[in-house]
Symmetry: C2
Subunit: 334 residues, 2 copies
């Protein structure tokens, strides 16, 4: 983590409002990761020490708040959702052959691919077993729907790797299934604990989905601009690994035929070093055609829709806190 990170401060302030629930959620997480098998326990500790910002469980707990109270089962469900998220990161890092995760060695880099695969499976199945043991039927239904969507997105991403044929619709499908679906799922599981949960489901679905789309588009923009929160973080990772994202898709649409041919040649190459070498040219192409601006506009618009969805909520601390959460995501770009 690095220099002035005002937006993260906002998230931390927000989390302070639900601190007891978040603390209990983390204790539940520790329990879910513990194992009498030494290797599993060791990798589990490694994974837990690299804990992220807990964005998904935070949204789940906020969504489940009823008059300031969070039901005990919602805390358990929040731990399960964070555990599923962790499992997907372990498998993702394996797929991307990532060396680090949150500044620490990735599981596959540290323990090898077989252990990474098994650890992901173990975290995944522990999370689902937790929901099943608590008989949280609605939560495990939502969670398995989402787990399928996420796996499909990974497959679609492998299939479309290096392909400039990825259009905005395919891109949106991938980022919805890969990222937004779990954020949406967290909100809907949270809402399922509300007395009027059925009636609220649609609203939380909208809110979670749009917030999730903003989240991923923002991440994809960072890969072109650099993450303002992490000065010096390298850009171009997506390009290097053949992931075609919104800034490039938008730029491509606006480009002339000769420029497209030029980019086509660069995109066809699969050698990582050559791709790294062509990154400056790709960045210039995207800049010349306003690709980042377009992506930013889309993110802003999804953010507005997320906030509009909140209009269906009664005014009060929950609505304010959820609005702060979506502001946090949008403002990461400023």
């Amino acid at each position: 983590m690095s220099l002035p990170d005002f937006e993260l401060v906002k998230l931390v302030q927000l989390q302070r409002r639900i601190k007891p629930s978040l603390v209990a959620m983390q204790a539940a997480l520790d329990g879910l990761v513990a194992s009498d098998i030494e290797l599993a326990a060791e990798v589990g500790r490694h994974v837990r020490q690299g804990q992220g910002k807990l964005f998904r469980p935070t949204l789940l707990l906020l969504s489940a708040m009823d008059g300031g109270e969070v039901p005990a089962d919602a805390i358990e469900a929040a731990a399960a959702v964070e555990l599923v998220h962790t499992a997907t990161l372990v498998h993702d890092d394996f797929i991307d052959e990532a060396q680090t995760r949150r500044g620490r060695p990735a599981v596959n880099a540290m323990y090898g691919p077989a252990t990474a695969l098994i650890m992901g499976d173990l975290l995944y199945t522990r999370a689902l077993r937790h929901l099943a043991r608590l008989s949280l039927v609605r939560a495990f239904q939502l969670m398995t729907e989402t787990a399928v969507l996420m796996s499909e997105a990974e497959m679609l991403q492998v299939q479309t790797r290096y392909s400039l044929d990825v259009d905005e619709d395919t891109y949106l499908r991938i980022i919805y299934q890969k990222t937004a679906s779990l954020i949406e799922c967290a909100c809907r599981i949270g809402a399922s604990f509300l007395p009027d949960g059925d009636a609220m489901d649609k609203m939380f679905q909208q809110f979670g989905r749009q917030t999730g789309l903003v989240f991923q588009i923002t991440d994809d923009i960072f890969d072109y601009l650099g993450d303002p929160r992490r000065l010096g973080k390298p850009t171009g990772g997506d390009w290097e690994e053949g992931r075609i994202t919104l800034p490039l898709i938008a730029a491509w649409r606006r480009a002339s035929e000769p420029k497209r041919r030029m980019l086509n040649t660069l995109a066809g190459c699969r050698d990582p070093r050559e791709r790294a070498a062509s990154w400056a040219e790709v960045q210039a192409f995207v800049q010349a055609h306003g690709g980042v601006e377009y992506a930013y506009e889309r993110a802003r618009s999804y953010g507005e829709q997320a906030k509009q969805a909140l209009a269906g909520l009664a005014p009060g601390p929950r609505r304010e806190l959820l609005a702060t959460a979506v502001e946090y995501v949008i403002n990461r770009l400023n």
Copy 2:
């Protein structure tokens, strides 16, 4: 598949008795594997074409039989169990770096490790989503308990690889969690559809567990003796990959200190070629100390316990068919 395979004929005859259910189960499987994502659909077809003997769904359907009828939901649950089994094979082949599965290229060998990992995840999550969508809560609970056990077994197997410290208890834990738990789970899910399912659960658990233990011990013996059903199938795969199984554990217990030291030296080496070269010596060691005979005795004893568990069932076609199933497993060794 190869020459005189009388035992397999017995299984096929048994399956003929529940043919309509098995056909419906396979149609359900096709549906669960289908995808609008080309790559997923292609790998799915590849996996389906390598279909195995359907032992687990056969047991589930037999367990669910009530007066000759199999409930429609049991057929769907049987498809989910077979799909989970398929998912574990895809991940297992990746972990073992297997080149083939059932005489065809393994998914990892044909499509690469990333696709194998994702395909396993996709099949897994599709299976669990199927149970969740049908609101088969009991089946979902049993399945997630089992999925955790299987992942833990994989981890334990990685942890104890190459280690002669694996004793019979650890071995039994591994094979119960890795193999027997899913067979037990299939039987219990089947029984959950019976009107007196709760009362029958314990019996089907015993039957499934013991049958599953026989199944895996038998497989492990094949790796020393050669599979009598598949003439010329190479032996020593477990030794080469550092898996210490019951014949070796039993032989070790009976061996003198000098013989143990000799084996220790061989076991410490992790180079696959050197391990392959030491196989004849290991085989001789196991033979000299009656390791296979001991394992066979254990398998026979678990088989007897499985048949005893069936005594709790009312006489009739279901009991006969389940007895035939366990006979099939035991007799694979004759």
